[in-house]
Symmetry: C2
Amino acid sequence: MLVEYDGTDFHGWQVQPDVPTVQGALEEAVETITSASCRVTGSGRTDAGVHARGQVAHVDLPTPHDAFRLRGSLNGLTPGGIAVRCVERAEDTFHARYDARRRRYHYFIHTQPCALDRHRRTHVRPVPHFDRMRAATPDLLGTHHFGSFCLTQSDTTNRVCTLTHAQWVEEDRRGFWHFEVAGTRFLHGMVRALVGTLLEIGHGKRPADALPTVMDAQDRRAAGPSASPEGLVLERVEYERDLWPEHERKD
Amino acid sequence: MLVEYDGTDFHGWQVQPDVPTVQGALEEAVETITSASCRVTGSGRTDAGVHARGQVAHVDLPTPHDAFRLRGSLNGLTPGGIAVRCVERAEDTFHARYDARRRRYHYFIHTQPCALDRHRRTHVRPVPHFDRMRAATPDLLGTHHFGSFCLTQSDTTNRVCTLTHAQWVEEDRRGFWHFEVAGTRFLHGMVRALVGTLLEIGHGKRPADALPTVMDAQDRRAAGPSASPEGLVLERVEYERDLWPEHERKD
């Protein structure tokens, strides 16, 4: 299933006792439909407050269900902050997390007063130097050790990721920008740490060529603070083959 | 001042006792700044739940204030659902309502599941025939009696308006559309009544050439129901001369 959600309403993706989570809401809906307890497996977790327009999840159902009717039932049984955009029957071997080849996130900011988008953009003040951030961004591309941008402490985990796209985009309205980033995998808190570090460069607190040194440190303390969650959207997860009808594939 | 607001949080523009309104919040902020009671006059009212990205209002201050600092103070003193985008000193004779030459509204809908935009778009089901709505829309252009699209009952009021632009626009995402309409003046509830009537045409409840007959009736009961407020945004108000710096003028 292709899932959109408003992170404002949930304590993140992953099911937890006594708090609303996206995974928990989807599993409750599936349980109502199937009368069975089924795990809904996402392509990855998102933290509390982080949004998604294109999260992908799979569920193994005990009996066959029509995909289009299942989409309607899931939307009827989940809160308004969750929208199941598509449901398609997958191959038995499909796994939303292990089979994902590429993820794409956008981080939205505004530097001028804004009301309508305030739950989905982070207010950045003072106005950063976007030319400095743009100059620094290409240092992220390619295969690097991203341990300095990872919240989780563990010596045994692989911290090497390959970023294939990273770009600051100015939008139609003055002071509205977003950071686009895509790669094979992302570590816990990685996009927010990247944005927080780039904003420090934009604010002149670090030189524009600081990123290689930060990456070499392999230490979270070498990077900038985490940018706040409300600006972050998981836009898309890609697999070996296209999962959705063509009309859902456009960016 | 150029004002954006999230209508979800307010009982409309116009000040009313005991409920939060946009005008009331702005007047309280001005009173805190000036220690005087000042009327904030908008280009027009918006109903409860209706949003604005480009409402224009004026206020007569008892003493001079720097426009940029005033903008900062107003944003600091109003709730997050209000953003004062620009403040400029106006001529003494300027009147936000009487001097307005043209207003522009957009009405946003979605026909497919959506979570992130659900407070700013109306869910329309079943999917209407947009080609029928597009065929009917040009009948609105020009100068007509719009009494059939007006909520207010009164025999003495002028119900003639001139619409200069009316168009259905398909957006980048499947099932996301908006209706753009601009004109010299709009009656109470007019845009929502126009959209409600066009959706009836799109749903095959009225013929595509129904609008001239509805207008001729000069009776609110001849038109369709009011489309719900959360999809409506007052985008822009135009005056004889440009009020704002060039960077705020783009659509």
